[in-house]
């Protein structure tokens, strides 16, 4: 009973952990059950860790304890980053995930090579190669992505291109694959190729990210999430562990689906994101004929909104940068109190990560049932008195609907131009992410409110509360 019983407890812990992870993601389908999902995830992870610690033959308890304590020491501060830094944090943590997968693969390979080479079957070697390539590629790729997002000085934000870039990257990748295949054929004889694979994977991660603009990073991060998941799957194949395989497959599909959703909402293809060097054309798009722009004072805007019966607020990346969400909340409160019907229109790729606006507005305690998705709010736009655009640009650019030459042509947008009046808060007439002008801001019915989003919304609130007077 004694020693044969422990593996069974471990097996059951893994089985239960697998089910809990599935429930964790299942419960994320609704904000009401989502926190239960986190609980299930934590429970699953705890079962997995405890089950593993029951494995026979573990002795290096000090090492384990130190690593765990350090993990907590670094992990807790990392979980407290401001919401605007969440993309970077996510990238960084994919780097950690890649590192862990890669290191385990390396350790397992050399262990088997030294102690029991017969364990290195072709299949295992295939799995180890996949794990190591995916792991190290994710490591450097995610570090680059995090750097670009954090706007670290020595990592160029703009896409860097050079002649034959895609061809040489492909060549490099092909070499790594060939080395991997050789090792699969003879895991022991070709053991000297193993470090080569590692170096190639590390280099490939860097080269893959260099030609991608900082602004495309969210899509890339999602893909890297997928790779990190697949690395965990490969590790599962190496260690013959089904929990790892399922958890990895869940992540792999999550990353893939989120990046597909982002690509679709931007009306771009994967290959365009990865190899299109999007964002470098930005500089060219100046020099069109001068057009007139009307601007308005916060006081005037406040008056208009006060008299409206339906106001729709369209938040964008600018609101996130300015951290204006709490002021927006005040604006929402005061308008609602004055009897104005206020809704938020959320574009799927507003901001810089999927669901970005939702979290920000939720942070400011705005009830999530007032956040309306693009497809649901667009039909109501015609009956809206005032649209207030706060730091959004591409997601309200009507060119996406009709200008076939525009780089964002075909991307679904929020029809802010169809409302009776549009107020737009931004600091200048500079373009947004896609680097193109927005004709909405030159339209008859649009009035600009120039300035930082936080400051302008603050003034709106002041004007509204000062002005007093019921509706």
């Amino acid at each position: 009973m004694g020693s044969s019983f422990v593996p069974t407890v471990m097996d059951l812990a893994y089985l239960a952990g697998t089910a809990l992870f599935i429930f964790a993601l299942y419960w994320m389908n609704d904000p009401k059950t989502a926190r239960r999902g986190v609980f299930a995830g934590v429970a699953g992870m705890t079962l997995a860790v405890v089950g593993t610690l029951l494995a026979p033959g573990l002795v290096n308890w000090e090492w384990i304890a130190v690593a765990v304590v350090l993990g907590f020491a670094v992990g807790i501060p990392l979980s407290r980053v401001p919401l605007t830094a969440v993309p970077q944090r996510t990238a960084l943590s994919h780097a950690f995930g890649g590192l862990a997968a890669g290191l385990v693969g390396v350790a397992k390979y050399y262990l088997w090579l030294a102690e029991s080479p017969e364990q290195l079957t072709h299949f295992r070697m295939f799995a180890i190669s996949a794990e190591v390539i995916l792991g190290f590629l994710t490591l450097t790729g995610s570090l680059m992505a995090a750097g670009k997002l954090q706007e670290v000085k020595w990592i160029p934000q703009r896409p860097v291109t050079y002649p034959l870039q895609n061809a040489s990257n492909l060549l490099l990748f092909a070499i790594a694959i060939v080395c991997g295949l050789l090792m699969v054929i003879d895991p022991i004889g070709y053991s000297y190729l193993f470090p080569v694979i590692i170096v190639l994977a590390l280099a490939f991660g860097v080269l893959l990210i260099i030609p991608i603009g900082g602004a495309d990073m969210p899509t890339v991060i999602s893909l890297l999430n997928s790779y990190a998941g697949l690395a965990a799957v490969a590790m599962g194949f190496v260690l013959d562990n089904k929990l790892l395989i399922v958890a990895g497959a869940l992540d792999g599909s999550s990353g893939l689906i989120l990046s597909i959703i982002m690509c679709k909402a931007m009306n771009r293809s994967f290959s365009n994101v990865l190899f299109g060097a999007f964002g470098q054309v930005q500089a060219k798009a100046v020099g069109v004929e001068e057009r007139t722009v009307k601007s308005e004072t916060p006081e005037g805007a406040a008056q208009v909104m006060e008299q409206a019966s339906r106001v729709v607020i369209v938040p964008g990346y600018g609101m996130a940068v300015a951290q204006a969400q709490h002021r927006v909340r005040e604006l929402y409160d005061i308008l609602t109190k004055k009897g104005v019907d206020v809704k938020f229109a959320i574009h799927p790729v507003a901001g810089r990560m999927p669901g970005h606006m939702n979290v920000l507005l939720a942070e400011a305690d705005i009830p999530y049932d007032h956040l309306v998705e693009m497809d649901d709010i667009n039909p109501e736009m015609g009956q809206t008195d005032v649209v207030l655009v706060i730091g959004a640009n591409d997601v309200v650019n009507p060119a996406a609907r009709h200008d076939k030459s525009s780089p964002i042509y075909g991307m679904p947008i929020i029809d802010a131009d169809k409302a009776r009046m549009c107020l737009a808060i931004k600091r200048s007439m500079n373009p947004g992410f896609a680097g193109i002008e927005n004709e909405l801001y030159f339209s008859e019915s649009t009035y600009m409110l120039f300035g930082d989003a936080k400051a302008v919304v603050g003034e709106l609130v002041k004007a509204l509360s000062g002005g007093g007077g019921g509706h």
Partner: protein
């Protein structure tokens, strides 16, 4: 969308099974021992696509961080490398991997919960 997802599943599966047939032909013994793992992978991917496509758009940011935490399941491999008696270099590799995964677990779940706590309806908490 649906098409692409199906396509993704088929692709993953095709890759997996292509490679799977190769080592089996080469080694006569235990050639099928990895089949259960392939099944688990395939079924897990199906579940992943099914579950993730149902996640509310509202929660895509927390979704990214919770999957992040879950992919730190690599912690299992790290413990199994770091724990037993091995040459010190291996133990160090394992410990570093363990540290990295542990960081992801802790920060991933904490930040997800922090974000989810913010989502409220009119009727107050929850």
């Amino acid at each position: 969308m649906r098409r692409r997802v199906l396509f993704g599943i088929l692709l993953l599966w095709a890759c997996a099974s292509t490679f799977a047939s190769e080592p089996a032909a080469a080694q006569a013994t235990g050639g099928s021992s990895y089949m259960p793992l392939l099944y688990v992978f395939m079924l897990g991917s199906f579940i992943g696509f099914g579950v993730i496509t149902r996640v509310s758009r509202l929660l895509h940011t927390p979704l990214m961080s919770i999957t992040n935490a879950i992919s730190a399941i690599a912690v299992v491999g790290a413990i199994l490398v770091a724990g037993p008696t091995h040459p010190p270099i291996i133990t160090i590799l394992g410990a570093v991997a363990l540290f990295a995964s542990m960081t992801n677990i802790v920060s991933g779940f904490l930040i997800t919960d922090r974000m989810l706590k913010m989502f409220k309806t009119d009727k107050g908490q929850k």
